[in-house]
């Protein structure tokens, strides 16, 4: 056994244990339990002790008994330090310790003697650490968004750290923020507008992009190479440099404050990437199929409808979902073009809500939940399509 490996193993595993326990403590504390100290020194010492014990005992004990033993020791010591805590806190600690003990079970004296063992230990624990930490850091804001929408202004101000939800209250009380944003702030209307704009953008973009992509992929014409290279360059141009001219022109044409104007802009900004994604896919369809169709005297319209479309459903779904997501989340143009509350999209409506400092934050968060849930659901459900869309349309930022 190498000393270096041993030190790495003991230190990094106990730091990992500390981070697990701390995250659990934070989550418990957010349920309104008073907890002032993470006891860094004690937990680290305990962690080192357990990891060393694990090496000493090795395989003399069944690993399940060993894990339970460690978990019990830790839970009791920890319970003694933090004093009065609800029983589910201790159960959580116990579960974490079982998980931890099972993870360190594979390290024994021989293992730590092998070559590169110190590096392997570091990599293993960094992986675990990374998974836990990244999940926490990413999910926490979403968790907070959801919880805040169920709280009341008073409760939020009294103790901003109390994330507990009182499920005993009336259904109407619990969902009060949602009732308010739908009744008072007309969010129902904004959902309809956002849906209309996003779905409209998808349909119009596909109507424009499919023929164009087919032409770029299959037909020979003057300026083709120029066109296909310029598609991506055009796509790199950011919305912020388009805003002022579009604002002036749309103001003079009376297209501002109209959903139609927004639809045109969204379509134009997503078209280049839609064409780029689709033409790549169309190229992969065997040409022979179309040659047979030309024999049957189908024109290009027939070819696209009867041959290309049925074969490219996956690519078209990717594009459609990607465009939907862009249009649904879009903020800059809706900020610039819409200033009449009757034609707001969801994003713009939330921004408008926040502009009034008096708006209670739970309404703001309820609105945020309403705008976030559809995209996340669509994303989780159609992940496969969306991921390929994201990678192809990656440049959108």
């Amino acid at each position: 056994m190498k000393t270096k490996s041993l030190i790495y193993y003991a230190l990094i595993s106990s730091i990992f244990l500390f981070s697990l326990v701390s995250i659990w403590k934070i989550l418990v504390m957010l349920q309104g339990v008073e907890l002032k100290n993470l006891n860094f020194a004690i937990i680290i010492t305990l962690g080192i002790a357990i990891s060393l014990l694990n090496l000493l005992i090795g395989e003399k004990l069944n690993y399940l008994i060993k894990s339970t033993f460690f978990a019990l020791i830790f839970t009791f010591v920890d319970g003694y330090i933090v004093q009065v805590m609800p029983i589910w806190y201790n159960i959580g600690i116990f579960a974490i310790l079982i998980f931890y003990s099972l993870k360190i079970n594979k390290y024994n004296q021989e293992y730590l003697a092998s070559e590169h063992s110190s590096q392997i230990v570091v990599f293993d624990f960094l992986t675990l650490f990374g998974i836990v930490l990244f999940s926490f850091v990413i999910l926490f804001p979403f968790y907070m968004m959801l919880i805040t929408s169920f709280k009341t202004q008073a409760a939020l101000l009294i103790n901003p750290l109390d994330f507990s939800i009182n499920f005993n209250q009336d259904f109407k009380e619990l969902f009060k923020s949602y009732f308010v944003i739908f009744d008072t702030y007309k969010f129902g209307r904004y959902i309809l507008i956002s849906t209309f704009v996003s779905v409209g953008t998808v349909i119009v973009t596909l109507l424009f992009a499919i023929p164009a992509a087919y032409a770029v992929a299959r037909l020979n014409f003057f300026g083709k190479n120029f066109l296909s290279t310029s598609i991506l360059i055009i796509y790199m141009f950011p919305a912020i440099v388009l805003v002022i001219p579009l604002y002036t022109v749309f103001s003079q044409l009376g297209l501002r404050n109209s959903v139609g104007g927004l639809l045109i802009v969204y379509t134009a900004t997503t078209l280049p990437v839609a064409i780029y994604m689709l033409q790549g896919y169309f190229r992969s369809i065997p040409k022979e199929l179309e040659e047979a169709a030309i024999m049957d005297k189908l024109n290009w319209f027939g070819i696209i409808i009867k041959i290309i479309l049925p074969l490219s459903i996956p690519a078209i779904s990717s594009v459609a979902l990607y465009v939907f997501m862009i249009a649904w989340n879009e903020f800059l143009f809706s900020l610039m073009f819409l200033d009449n509350p009757n034609s707001f999209t969801l994003s713009r409506a939330i921004q408008y809500l926040s502009g009034d400092a008096e708006t209670p934050r739970q309404y703001l968060m309820a609105g945020s939940v309403v705008v976030t849930i559809p995209v996340l659901l669509i994303f989780v459900y159609f992940e496969k399509y969306l991921v390929s869309g994201l990678t192809a349309g990656s440049v959108k930022g």
Binding site: T127, F208, F222, I240, I350
Partner: protein, 419 residues
């Protein structure tokens, strides 16, 4: 025969691409060129409204004479700056009424009154009256007359279309706008945001490339910040970071990590004492960069993961046989395999972060040292209402962007030559 076929092919191709090209041209390319035009003009937000001749109609009965009605039109030029030429007026009269002592600028033709008012200066106002005499003594509903709206037309110069140009805007951009401050903030934000998101992208891709329980779930979760709507996420972060009632500050104070709440989004500098030296950290800017990394590392993650999964397993197996540890495997196999992806990602993210507007706008509004060039476009154009200045800043952005792209394609070309 083949000649006609290729002609048909060409024609078909143009028909197919024309709608898309037209739309992209008018909404993306035209504005970019229009920016150049506007940036050389002195135009404010209020100037872009086209001046309109307007008339407010008031109907009054006359006490002494029930057979007569007075119709007053409050005429005005809606613009405070521009003249309207050849104003023409048209209104419908009720059937049983005839105008008397009609203004000489007007004439009546079959129940309709036509007037030519000539030119109206900016801010022009006039109370124009018509006296109506009933021809049959019948009463008339005043409201009915009021609901008929007069029509007015006139010609005016569009300030955007005249040919007065000035260099004022660019002078202001470079000399009065704290330009180098703006530029350095933008680069700081762009560079650290890009590097940070790529570093975290590499870390997470490396994580998810291993086998563990809940891996697919983890992959979805990692993409949440990227697919979520920016408005919702920015406001959530704002609440999270609030100095008084925000969760983060209260958490840190609860565990005695900090004694005083930190105004993470509202404080420009934070002085950190490090081994006796005072460092000034740009606090709000750092927070905004962290948000940016949080939101965009998933993209780097996705790209790098896709690349990692394509690395042949044999490479790692061979390395293991040669006695390489995890670190050597990473530096000698993984890193060389992903450098190409990283360089592309760096360029793409750099360009996009350079132009990022929404995130900073929603989090700080450009205050406390987070004013970047895109924020400045908005501020000049819509807060200060100077459209010309906004356009000039946009032009600077486009110019820098073209330089980046040029460098990018040069490098890509070089790379392609090497392989």
């Amino acid at each position: 025969m083949s000649d006609t076929l290729s002609k048909i092919e060409k024609r078909t191709a143009y028909v197919l691409i024309l709608p898309a090209v037209f739309l992209v041209f008018s909404i993306i390319l035209f504005p970019i060129f229009a920016n150049v035009w506007i940036s050389f003009k002195e135009v404010g937000l209020k100037d872009i409204r086209i001046p309109e001749p307007r008339a407010k109609k008031i109907v009054k009965s006359i006490k002494d004479n029930p057979d007569q009605l007075k119709v007053i039109y409050k005429l005005r030029n809606s613009s405070l700056i521009l003249e309207i030429r050849d104003v023409k007026f048209q209104d419908k009269l009720p059937k049983n009424f005839k105008p008397i002592n009609l203004d000489e600028r007007c004439r009546v033709k079959s129940n309709k009154i036509y007037c030519e008012f000539g030119n109206w200066k900016a801010k022009y106002k006039e109370n124009f009256q018509i006296l109506l005499q009933s021809s049959d003594g019948k009463q008339i509903n005043k409201k009915e007359i009021k609901t008929i709206k007069p029509k007015l037309t006139g010609k005016s110069d569009n300030i955007l279309l005249n040919t007065n140009f000035t260099l004022k805007n660019f002078k202001k951009v470079f000399f009065q706008n704290e330009f180098f401050d703006l530029l350095s903030t933008t680069f700081y934000y762009t560079f650290f945001g890009t590097v940070g998101s790529i570093v975290f992208g590499i870390l997470t891709a490396q994580l998810v490339n291993q086998k563990f329980f809940g891996r697919t779930f983890m992959r979805s979760v990692l993409l949440f910040p990227y697919v979520g709507p920016v408005v919702a996420l920015a406001y959530t972060w704002e609440l999270l970071l609030d100095p008084y009632s925000g969760t983060l500050n209260n958490l840190l104070m609860n565990f005695q990590v900090i004694q005083e709440p930190l105004n993470l989004l509202g404080q420009k500098y934070l002085t950190i004492n490090f081994f006796g030296f005072d460092f000034k950290l740009r606090l709000a800017l750092t927070t905004v960069i962290i948000f940016e990394i949080w939101r965009y590392f998933p993209l780097a993650f996705l790209f790098i993961l896709a690349r990692l999964q394509a690395v042949p397993k044999e490479l790692y197996e061979a390395a293991e046989v040669d006695g390489a540890g995890p670190l050597q495997k990473f530096t000698n196999i993984t890193l060389p395999q992903i450098t190409a992806v990283i360089s592309i990602l760096f360029m793409i993210r750099f360009i996009w972060n350079f132009n990022k507007f929404e995130d900073i706008f929603l989090l700080t509004g450009g205050a406390s040292g987070t004013r970047t060039l895109p924020i400045n476009v908005y501020e000049q154009g819509f807060t200060i209402s100077d459209i010309g200045m906004g356009s000039a800043v946009s032009i600077v952005i486009v110019a820098l962007l073209l330089i980046f792209m040029f460098v990018y394609f040069k490098l890509i070309g070089k790379r392609a030559d090497e392989n």
